[in-house]
Symmetry: C2
Subunit: 353 residues, 2 copies
């Protein structure tokens, strides 16, 4: 059984009178994030490219298409089972580039360090970044470090920006989902989020779960080679989880998405931990999983491509695109009922990435 995930769900309460200040919920990836972006960023910047709500931007360049994407990482704790803020910052950004159908090439990395951070922690983080960059096939070409006084940051924050090049075989975008498209996920849901929660000691129990942080370009490349034309949308369900990504795509494409609860690949350890915390695995972040919307004729081949890749062995067909209601994601439960899988208003798990 999953906990409720609609408006009355487990999101953080909003303090009264806090409407004119930043709240934790603004960082959730849910409705409050969306409102913050629309009202306080997009209007001022006025950039059409930002309005597309993709993870990055596509820039025409000398007959090719460059892709640029940026992300700040503020995960706490900075080290968790299966990874740390360093490999997370590399994989997070190369995956955003891969989800735009581009091959990641170069990264920049900017560090904000808190006075008192043990250099041994910094060394482990930097070593993880170097290893993750090598695995992902990117070079870290530019960097910056700033230091702030003790108590003015939280250990370290890392911002990575990536540059990639569109490959030509894939041009996925969030607004391209069409009724009939099949929704595939490449692996188990919720591992990253639950690994971070476990590292915080919030579970009151020991669970055997590691973050899935991994670079996804090779998986995207494999899809592109075999069924490139049939891939309408690619996303990685990080902050906000699968529910967040599907809601974004449903809204951008003006379609509905129908999930089958029984088809969702939720590891037993994640399911158990979610029950303890009263969370829904649909909202818990992955960092090494992709969601693909593909045409129905190509769905079986796409699933096979995913399953024959080491990162996609547990790939599954989890739902389909329907006409409507536009923007709505629904879940058919094991009991034959249907419930709405809404965007959360505020924070489910702050600082998960």
């Amino acid at each position: 059984m999953m906990a409720s995930s609609s408006w009355g769900g487990p999101a953080c309460p909003v303090p009264a009178g806090a409407g004119d200040r930043i709240q934790l919920g603004h960082g959730s990836g849910g409705r409050m994030t969306l409102a913050l972006l629309k009202e306080h960023f997009f209007r001022a910047f006025g950039g059409q490219k930002l309005e597309l709500m993709a993870d990055g931007a596509v820039l025409p360049w000398q007959g090719q298409e460059l892709v640029i994407s940026t992300d700040s990482f503020v995960v706490t704790p900075v080290e968790f089972p299966g990874g740390n803020i360093g490999d997370l910052a590399v994989n997070g950004t190369v995956n955003d580039i891969a989800m735009m159908g581009a091959e990641p090439r170069h990264l920049s990395a900017a560090f904000i360090l808190e006075e008192g951070l043990p250099l041994a922690v910094l060394d482990r983080v930097v070593a993880s970044m170097a290893k993750a960059a090598e695995r992902a096939g990117v070079t870290i070409v530019a960097g910056d470090t700033k230091v702030v006084e003790k108590g003015k940051a939280d250990g370290l924050f890392v911002t990575t920006t990536g540059v990639g090049v569109r490959w030509g075989k894939l041009s996925p975008a969030p607004h391209q989902a069409r009724p009939g498209d099949v929704v595939l996920v490449s692996g188990p849901l919720g591992r990253h989020g639950m690994a971070v929660m476990a590292a915080r000691g919030n579970l009151g129990m020991w669970i055997d779960v590691e973050s899935d942080t991994a670079p996804l370009w090779s998986l995207v490349e494999a899809l592109g080679r075999r069924v490139g034309d049939s891939v309408h949308v690619l996303r990685d369900p990080t902050r906000g989880g699968l529910a967040g990504v599907l809601n974004e795509v449903a809204a951008a494409s003006r379609v509905g998405v129908r999930l089958e609860e029984g088809a969702l690949p939720v590891p037993e350890a994640v399911r158990a931990a979610c029950e303890v915390l009263g969370l829904d695995p649909l909202y818990v972040a992955c960092e090494g999983v992709l969601v693909a919307f593909v045409t129905p004729d190509a769905a079986s081949e796409a699933l096979e491509v995913l399953r024959t890749h080491p990162l996609g062995r547990e790939a599954a067909r989890v739902g389909e695109v329907v006409e409507g209601p536009p923007g709505m994601v629904t879940l058919r439960t094991g009991f034959g009922g249907t419930r709405v899988v809404d965007l959360l208003p505020g924070s489910l798990l702050p600082r998960i990435c």
Copy 2:
């Protein structure tokens, strides 16, 4: 008269036994920053491009050269006379690109917001960024926002990453200074640093100084058109000031640099504030000034180009490159003496950008 600026100078003391942790001095742009980069970043990343110590990287691309550069901004307070963290974050990164002889084209911007930040402050910062981007001729194409709990950041931090394209008329680099080169600065020294100090209320006096934050590409372009081949090095003296930049160039080029104290364009308000604080203006950050190393035959023309540009009206010839001692910067004082202008060991003015 200037205060001492050598090892015994006004840098923050290093707490005993703190050698295995990050200290404020690691963010100074001085010796400790250099040591941190060498021992904890370059070795792990092993990138030749990072080793060049330029502000960004040059990437060959389809017969052109792309330039990428990144910087985190943690200035406190976030608003100060003449600017705020928003325009500073735009100008800082477009200037790093311009200093590599490249025209800035696109920016990404990643925000780390502290819970409780007034949205009115955020709005002013974002509006300044939009205006600065327009003035600099760049588009902000990708962004990210993260929120951390109250007390885990300091208002807001902004990381900008820029992409530019080399123009062909200029290819400056820190290792290209040659004996005989003339050192030019495009404007008055120390305005940004002193404006931030004034905003902190640290001066105990009122001074009439605003940050000089401005985008420098048009100035670089003008230089490039008239004397491009003669420009060996371009840098902007931000964190660490003119002294920091000249020491870096002297070390990278294995030459000496000799400054003339009487030629340094230090505004009276900056000089007075520095005396109150016991600081040397040579170490105080500018954010709208460039330093150019040009061949002696082109020096007069370069100076004229700078002086006819609105941002370069107070440009001055401040010194020259000498054979050695390699890596050493010296200053001929008004009294006919000579002193060494060393890198500071630690922090002079933390969180100035």
